[in-house]
Symmetry: C2
DNA sequence: GGACACATGAATGCATGTATACACGAACGT
DNA sequence: ACGTTCGTGTATACATGCATTCATGTGTCC
């Protein structure tokens, strides 16, 4: 692990968790000192975070984390919706052609269903996320996968909103079941539609929770 | 313009044009010498190109441009299709709500139609591209726009294929007319569908031309 | 009193020396 | 002769000093 990669992940965590507060002004130098690396690897990490718009630069002022916004969440979710629809469609195609094995996706989903029984919302959310990440690999579409990864990194800042609606866990799993079935059957279009519905349904909840938290 | 940004664009051009040949091995140091910058800004540019998968690194060996492939072109085009569908849909929405002005898109398209008359294929392609870039701005969806920009940068390597089918220019413009009309009317779904058809139709041609050029 | 120009300090872009890590080949041992 | 290990060279990750750029505040001129 390089120092640049390490500090990237640390910063990502700090931003996602809110530990690095929105609108607090930082400089590369202070961040380098805080994370005990020189400015070179830190700059590298900051550049990547700027690409993801998790940090924005005010020329000659410094860096800041932009505040959460309904608008950004909506845009990220809409982008995620079309990209994951494509991932699901590609995955169904590849499975149908015998170009990819679906075992891991099945395993993850089975674990998801088991976890529902033990009432551990945090774990359920985490396994639910694994489902989407495995689907990204399964799609075999590197271009879509790269975009999807970036969008999800941005979306992570809003993920904690899901904790506000624990009663949704059963529905999430049910929607995953439907997506998995379509992929197993090689029905690309059905998989795409089911996935888009799934993401859109999640967005509705997020909008509701978020609207109670911010003005925007 | 920073040195890093400048060398990024130069490298991008060299890769896109084929001047930097696929599979030729380079090192950061040689590239820095060639472009007359120090290793620091060059590294910065190389990092960005790696993110775009326009350069791949062989550990401790160097950097190389991956060869064109049917698979990559297909993946890029499929990703482009869903993203631009979303951009068109967002743009139609924003125009309908009076949140964005469509004038520039109209102007670009009018110029496109005029250019068809003077038989300059290169210029027609270029103005056709402007249409897609203006649409990106018009969408107001920063997340989708960022993904789209990345995908198009990757797709640039395949763009010269369009020169092989000059007779398509009229059809491109006709499809743009349809997309523009849907956006002007605020019909988001119609705009999305028209755009997806447009991208998919282009892909068919690219597949045909490319299949005659590479084994893959 | 307002606007513009310049001085100043901070932030970061850039250059370069050094440390580290890895591939490859050679040489030795089995 | 083949496999393993160690030497060597190369590629790049990192640290740090210097150059450049820009925001801000002050003073002067109109």
């Amino acid at each position: 692990m390089t120092a640049a990669e390490l500090v990237f992940r640390q910063l990502l965590g700090a931003i996602t968790s809110g530990e690095l507060a929105p609108d607090a002004m930082e400089t590369e130098e202070r961040l380098a000192a805080r994370y005990k690396v020189s400015r070179t690897p830190l700059r590298d990490a900051v550049r990547r975070l700027e690409q993801l718009r998790l940090l924005v630069r005010e020329p000659a002022r410094g860096l800041r984390v932009p505040p959460l916004s309904m608008r950004e969440m909506h845009d990220l979710s809409a982008t995620r919706e079309v990209l994951e629809g494509l991932l699901a469609s590609c995955a169904a195609d590849r499975v149908a052609r015998g170009m990819a094995r679906i075992d891991r996706l099945r395993d993850i989903h089975a674990r998801h269903l088991r976890v529902l029984g033990i009432n551990d919302p945090e774990l359920a959310l985490s396994v639910g996320f694994d489902f989407h990440e495995e689907l990204r690999r399964l799609s075999g579409n590197e271009s879509a996968a790269a975009c999807h990864e970036q969008v999800l990194l941005g979306f992570d800042r809003y993920r904690h909103l899901a904790r506000a609606v624990p009663e949704r866990h059963d529905r999430i799993a049910a929607e995953h079941t439907e997506i998995l079935a379509a992929i197993e059957a090689g029905r690309a279009q059905a998989a795409e539609i089911a996935m888009r519905r799934h993401i859109a349904a999640g967005r509705e909840l997020y909008v509701e929770v978020l609207s109670r938290m911010i003005s925007d």
